[in-house]
Symmetry: C2
Subunit: 150 residues, 2 copies
């Protein structure tokens, strides 16, 4: 069983992709994060779902969390409007250190994927063939594969 | 829309639960982590899926990652055997600091859940009614709900 056989295929996003479309991919595929590639499908960063959630929260609530409770439900139910018109690049964490982009090769074994995931404590790795991404493997997907044999 | 309406219900685990059964829940529900409760269903800790993956990797491979590549595929395909006979408590990260257990109330709004998730950068929160857990909300589930209105 190789990484390419475990990998799940779904459309990749780039920094210029629509933020709302990226959020929909996370929601539909129930992913803990999504891989951001450059124009050549080379994986460059992971955008965690919890980071996208951050943009659902109005700035004044981030400054004063107690305000969250007094917002009307109709406002609370329209939070996704905040993602409209933004790009994926605008959602990425502003980090001073270069983000770690965990990558496995298409022919890596389950153990090799597990070893990388354990080392980086990451919930998601990109699978590359050469330099191009061919899919992703989440920690829960890896468990699914490992447990199928039990 | 309240937290209790968004929450997803699935069997909880305790420190004494079977590690293999907990891994199966993570795999089946495609969760980034699972909440560990005490005997009274009070949420106490989150066990991340990437932490469970760590136990799929033999100790000698953790010590020398280059050995992962030389393991035969038949061994690599039987990694789940390592979880047999262990408890959830044995899988939990050994941390000196008390783990953060993110919790929202059943009547919290989408904005309140999002605000907590954004603050703790956590992919999963427990929903409690009083002190007892009634379900969990993942970041991707929250996005699913927020985007349903778009």
């Amino acid at each position: 069983m190789h990484a390419s056989q475990i990998a799940e295929d779904y459309p990749s996003v780039t920094k210029d992709s629509d933020a709302l479309a990226a959020a929909k991919l996370l929601a539909e595929h129930r992913l803990p994060g999504i891989v951001v590639t450059d124009g050549d499908r080379v994986p460059r960063a992971v955008l965690p779902a919890s980071q996208v959630v951050r943009f659902l929260v109005p700035g004044y609530v981030q400054d004063d969390p107690s305000l969250a409770g007094v917002l009307s439900e109709s406002v609370a139910d329209r939070v996704a409007d905040a993602l409209r018109g933004k790009t994926v690049g605008e959602l990425l964490p502003k980090s001073t250190s270069k983000p770690v982009m965990p990558v496995v090769r298409a022919d890596d074994t389950v153990i090799e994927v597990a070893a990388l995931m354990a080392r980086c404590r990451c919930p998601l790795v990109a699978v590359v063939d050469g330099t191009q991404m061919v899919g992703v493997i989440t920690a829960s997907r890896l468990l699914q594969v490992a447990l199928a044999a039990t």
